[in-house]
């Protein structure tokens, strides 16, 4: 059941992607870079100033949010209303810049953040403490996001903009501010997911691509623009990875994953776990 623990973190990453998609119809290709930034933020905070690993999470959330808002104004704002291709390319180019800088500064070697947490052993299987805590933190962040979206004025504004931007504008919602806020949130979620992944697995500057692809798969499963679906999709992906490995060589699970991805996109473009959006 390790798959559920890790899958929930995939879900958290995908939530960031899907939130941005839902609100502004933008596929954010800086997503992978944001995940990597979260990983390296954790590495720098723990190795540089000896911060306890999990204390870095709030900092990364806030920092990710600010960077996300800045990114919105730099690369996305001018693109709203242009063909979707342009926005893909502008976020892709920011991704290139971030990864390029990362490669120049840190190289592409492996980084590891050692987190000492006792695991839980059940029969012969051990669940490592970092995985359990990562899943718990994911649940907390996802819960807060839900409370924010459904029980605050600002959250309602975000949902209103997602539903119909023009209408929201007409009733006096400052849509541009909402858009930048959502982009910031999306990047913050990706950064937090990156940080949690970094507590579980070693990582490199180039790790972002793989997790970005996983986020796409998760998003397709959960439905584009649907944060709750993303979490369920993430867990589902974790389970698929775990189960498929029982019956076939592990290297085939990737094939299964992508076949699933394409088939799901074609058959259920709204997502398998797409709940009705309010």
């Amino acid at each position: 059941m390790d798959g559920v623990l890790i899958g929930s973190v995939y879900g958290l990453a995908a939530m960031g992607l899907t939130l941005i998609w839902g609100v502004m119809n933008v596929v954010n290709l800086t997503h992978g870079a944001a995940i990597v930034a979260g990983m390296f933020a954790l590495y720098l905070l723990t190795s540089g100033i000896d911060m306890p690993p999990y204390a870095a999470l709030p900092l990364i959330l806030v920092g990710g949010f600010l960077i996300g808002v800045a990114l919105y104004w730099i690369a996305v704002h001018r693109m709203i209303g242009r063909p979707p291709l342009m926005i893909l390319l502008s976020t892709f180019s920011v991704n290139l810049v971030v990864i390029g800088l990362g490669t120049a500064v840190w190289g592409t070697g492996l980084f590891n953040v050692a987190v000492a947490l006792p695991g839980v052993t059940w029969r012969r299987y051990t669940f490592s403490g970092t995985h359990i805590l990562a899943a718990v933190l994911t649940a907390i962040i996802a819960g807060s996001l839900y409370l924010f979206l459904y029980h605050t004025r600002l959250g309602k504004a975000v949902r209103a903009v997602a539903n119909n931007r023009e209408a929201a504008e007409l009733v006096g919602i400052p849509t541009t501010r909402v858009l930048s806020l959502s982009f910031g949130l999306g990047v913050a979620l990706a950064g937090a997911a990156g940080m949690l992944i970094a507590t579980m697995f070693p990582f490199t500057v180039l790790s972002g691509d793989a997790y970005q692809l996983k986020s796409f798969v998760v998003t397709a499963l959960g439905g584009l623009g649907n944060p709750a679906g993303a979490l369920v999709g993430g867990v589902a992906l974790g389970l698929v990875e775990g189960f498929a490995a029982q019956f076939m060589p592990v290297s085939w699970t990737l094939v299964i994953e992508f076949v699933l991805f394409v088939v799901v996109l074609i058959i259920f473009p709204r997502g398998v776990f797409a709940f009705k959006r309010s």
């Binding site: 490669t103 590891n112 070693p202 775990g242």
Partner: protein
Amino acid sequence: MRKLYLLAAGAMLIATPAFAADDTLTIGMTLSQTGSLNIDSLAQQRGAELWRDEVNDAGGIKVGDKHYKVRFVTYDDQSQGARVQQLYTRLIVQDKAQFLFGPYSSGLCATAAVITEQYGRLMLITGGAEPKTYTLGNKYLVQVLSSADHYLTGAINALKTKSPHAKVAFVYSDDPFSKAVVLAAREQAKAGGLTIVLDEAYAPSTTDFGPIINKIIASSAEALLGGGHYTDGATLARQIYDQKANLKYVSLLVAPDSPEFASLGPAAFGITVPSQWEIQATYKPQFGPTGAEFVKAFEAKFKAPPDYHSATGYAGGALLQHAIEQAGSIDADKVVAALNAMDVTTFFGHFKIATDAAHHGLQIGHEMVLAQWQKKNGQLQREVVWPKAAQTADLLYPLH
């Protein structure tokens, strides 16, 4: 369009000063300065650079009554095959490299070999263990390190002394090198009486080994053999530790041989690694430095201990120098002939290559050792545990 193109072509011609002074020997190579192979490639490069500087400080390579200073020309291949051929062509044609060192990793070496063969330039392979490249009829390719067939032989023999019928899991990266290693090791394990309970390849980009580790636990394996390159191997080691896979013996390729492996902390403890060379190795060199001299010079220059990639990098240079001096010429055919005839020992170990047409250039002399991460005065460090003759410490078995 055409004008622009001619302009650009003209600019290129002007911008490329072709120079190769008579008393300079130019050696070309590509390095993986970026991309996934960057750690191993850097180590190899440092070894080669140390050799270059030592040779030049000593007055250069002596050929007849001439002394050649060594100059390196290097480009970044980004750890990808796409530009390797362009860059090697550039090294030969534009930079006038007389000799070449191979890039890091078997795949890139195979790609580069097409170009070097075409121009009849000697290329010494110091970072590609896959044996298949040598069965393709290449004439100017020489392998310095042991080929993949021999990587796990020592690990299997050492395991047999502790547990003659151990249950073994092979878990390895799905890349040319690791597959070639396991292909040979599988047969050696079977012939040695070990039981293979799991045989599993994973994608080189794998980060989550959870499902594989569950399979290892379910198979009740006592020993794990496999791994791949640095990134996946280190990740695997960490998760074996995190998820307590109950293994008594773990031998991983390449990754644990890097000094960075110690950053895994307790997860590194007890892991063994087949190694082309270790700091403690005490071969009696027929020329060049002893192991201790090499380590000392390397640490003085780079402030870090060398790993085997650095040793192969240096050994490649030393062997080339010896062959050139033996041949008394920098003509590629004569130097290849000298290498064909060589049967020597350096600080890196024995060197002898196959000379039949079907395997030309394949390394058949060099032997590998098995090293293990052990604790000494509270510090993690590698000790040679196999073969018995080269041992610096006893094998820790079982792990926990």
